[in-house]
Symmetry: C2
Amino acid sequence: MRNREILLKAATEIFSAGGPQASLEAVAKKAGVGIGTLYRHFPSREELFEAVYRHEVDQLCDLALTLGHETDALAALRQWLQANVRLVATKKGMMQTLQLAVYGNPQLKASSTARMVEALDMLLKRAIAEGSLRNDISAEDLLRTLIGIYYAQPEENWQAKALKLLDIFLDGLRAKA
Amino acid sequence: MRNREILLKAATEIFSAGGPQASLEAVAKKAGVGIGTLYRHFPSREELFEAVYRHEVDQLCDLALTLGHETDALAALRQWLQANVRLVATKKGMMQTLQLAVYGNPQLKASSTARMVEALDMLLKRAIAEGSLRNDISAEDLLRTLIGIYYAQPEENWQAKALKLLDIFLDGLRAKA
DNA sequence: CAATATACGGAGGCACCCTCCGTTTAGAAA
DNA sequence: TTTCTAAACGGAGGGTGCCTCCGTATATTG
């Protein structure tokens, strides 16, 4: 099953650079694999999109798990949110791809959202428990805010602005001393 | 220049049914026009997407203008918001198409948003002036809420749920008697 | 060391993309 | 009305990518 992961990685790179309309043959080539192999693992373009999507979500959830062992819970939370922004910022064509995947499959979206909320909830609860965050915000609200920040997406220098917005928002969330 | 409009209409129908990856030859065929004619009017797929996008925004802005003459300003506002929901609901593949257009061209998004805000602002101000709406919400906020409702997009029976959310929200916005 | 099952590669038929150029149409000039 | 010309049109065709299918290679089992 090694090829599956190689293909996934190649697809991520190709779609990041070229958007969702990039050639699947380019993906196979980048993976050093025949086109037939690609289609055996991912019988349709949609399934490849969805697999890429799931993989991105997996990585974020894994990261949350790792960060869950940090001693400074607030810093961990900030790092995770920043990782979200960076993921979007570094992969230009990827957002179109993910967007497409999500529109084509509402239950994929539902399940991914649930997993993201779960991951975020854990980090959030830890920060609240350690006393560095006010306790009147839910993971759903925070995620929605994050999406709002993505969605705003001003044309230039987006990453810096998003990171700044994030910091401002997190400052607002701090428990009063 | 008649053909341009015929093509735009055909494209709207084809993309609504088949999503953005639908064949441009199908669009030309539906319009009863040669493929060459399509490409003369819209030199690239992106430009066709963008034209469709602009056209949808135009229609909403025109509608707002018409509704601006209604005597019941609150009802007019509600109708306009409902029209937004219906537009999304009746055109399955269209959201993917518009999404794609907007991701590929940030300034198209910026200008369309501005126009939508302007249209909405007019309706909103009228409702506030007539005294049926509280005055502490901006058109931007309302539009963002609308987008939030779109984005939530639960898999089934989305339209009914969205319309209901809208009503609840509008009730919350009413000026107290 | 077979025999069988599983995974692979890529040729090929098909659809679609977009360009290019010969044809048609509309409107001005004679 | 007829002729001329410029703008608009249509669609053939070369190229690319999609996806299937089947012959080949590698792993597994007896």
